[in-house]
Symmetry: C2
Subunit: 260 residues, 2 copies
DNA sequence: CGATCTGTTGACTGTTATCAACTCCGGTGG
DNA sequence: CCACCGGAGTTGATAACAGTCAACAGATCG
């Protein structure tokens, strides 16, 4: 990924949340940023730091990990196009550690850029706000996931969410997603033990819902996975009429197929 | 509570999040609202509704309940001064049901008021944004609570959070809090069965951490409760130098006492 | 080519869910 | 006034899901 196109996934993301004019999106081209390559489990922001930059994910996955809990509970996962610490624009102190799940590329963008952007473009300001609101909706959904689903449905739901969020920025359209994370990472995100995560994934494989070979996961039965997880993508806040967006459109962007 | 002072707890809340001038707070006096009295478990916003008003909680508790999960999972709890559906200012469609926990008084404020307020006062706009960001932080914390604490610590943590949020708007300064909710409500918020919630509360009582008689709960050993829950109020985003706020200041506003 | 991390399996344990019964309480109507 | 009723709280017995421990296999990487 070239630095010049650092903002392309972000543009996809914002366009999926709100109607923004091409002129607005072009403002992103002015984005000054430092590109950083991270290795797996590297920490990029530490609990208690005061952030002065936004961390825009270009490639790979990032996760927020709770600093206190002994089991290293993961509280959220970022996909390309996400700004991991958007809220630090207004409250710089970060809580939890931001760590890379697998090899990852991020763009570090000074807070000032987004503050200026918000001032210059009301549409972009609104889109960023919707991004924050979506973060809230996703977090609320994680509460439901941990609270009311068993291990199998929990893992299935997480995979549905990641798949759909990737597809929203033009990735994994063929239901093949990079999976550089470990089973223990997945366990930490679903609040189950690594051993149980292993058995759960085996179960998903046994039911022919997915394959996980090396660093690539393939969802082989999307409708069944959606049904098992009782996954309803409405909470992701993607505009209903948004299917003109990302380029490589090989699969459907809805999960309605299997919701009876 | 008189309608004329509908905004007082909100003013406390906003002042605890950001520095706002008295002039800014006086803008709240223009707030036109409809006061509504709710009975226990009454639904005020339904999953799928499009909100045109913000629901400002004046007295009692509100909770968001997931619409899908069979066990009626509660995903968040509001205390007086909270705006339950702040995010609907920018994304009107509500997800989940907003229900009253016990008898409750709310002020329904048209979206327009807050949009105008944001335009007229940058400080208030910022305070509202911080309120939204705090909602996110709280939600993230619930993820940790469900994910990495056992039933006892989970209930303890929820009670710590509610206590501190009440104290932030001048309530429960003597660690006596209204508890009109049922044990089943508490169970739904902590994702445990009602039976287990009962046993957990008995355990808390047995350890002399709290009393729960009728509709009032008394925290009898706050430091021990904080320690048990490993509660750290930093995530609530209350300004460190904020102790000049609410009037009836009978108790300390920190939980540091017992964090070794 | 050995060290280390990840994945896999089996046996056992423990927390919590479920089921069922019973009590207590406040309200309601005869 | 009392009988009844429904909801909330309480208790015990049993079951299920998931955690822990331990050992080994397989991959990856220096």
């Amino acid at each position: 990924m070239q630095a010049g196109f650092a903002f392309s996934k972000l543009a996809d993301r914002l366009a999926s949340l709100a109607t923004v004019a091409a002129d607005d999106l072009h403002l992103l081209a002015d984005m000054a940023s430092t590109i950083a390559h991270l290795s797996s489990h590297q920490i990029i922001l530490r609990h208690g730091d005061d952030a002065t930059q936004c961390c825009l994910l270009l490639q790979g996955y990032l996760s927020w990990q709770d600093a206190e809990s002994t089991d290293g509970q993961i509280t959220s996962i970022c996909v390309p196009g996400d700004i991991a610490n958007l809220e630090t624009l207004y409250r710089p102190r970060v809580s939890g550690n931001l760590i890379a799940l697998g090899p990852t590329i991020v763009a570090l963008v000074p807070h000032r850029f987004f503050h200026d952007l918000s001032t210059r473009s009301p549409a972009m300001s609104r889109a960023l706000l919707l991004m924050l609101i979506t973060d809230l909706a996703i977090q609320r959904n994680w509460t439901v996931n941990l609270g009311s689903r068993d291990a199998l449905a929990r893992v299935a739901h997480l995979l549905c969410e990641i798949t759909m969020r990737l597809q929203n920025v033009g990735l994994a359209r063929d239901f093949r997603l990079p999976s550089p994370f470990t089973q223990s990472d997945l366990a930490a995100a679903c609040s189950i033990s690594p051993v149980h995560a292993n058995r759960t994934i085996q179960e998903l494989r046994r039911c022919n819902l997915l394959q996980w070979q090396g660093k690539t996961m393939t969802i082989t039965d999307w409708p069944a996975l959606v049904r098992l997880a009782r996954f309803d993508p409405a909470y992701l806040g993607i505009r209903p009429n948004y299917d003109d967006g990302p380029p490589s459109h090989l699969g459907p962007l809805t999960a309605d197929v299997a919701l009876a």
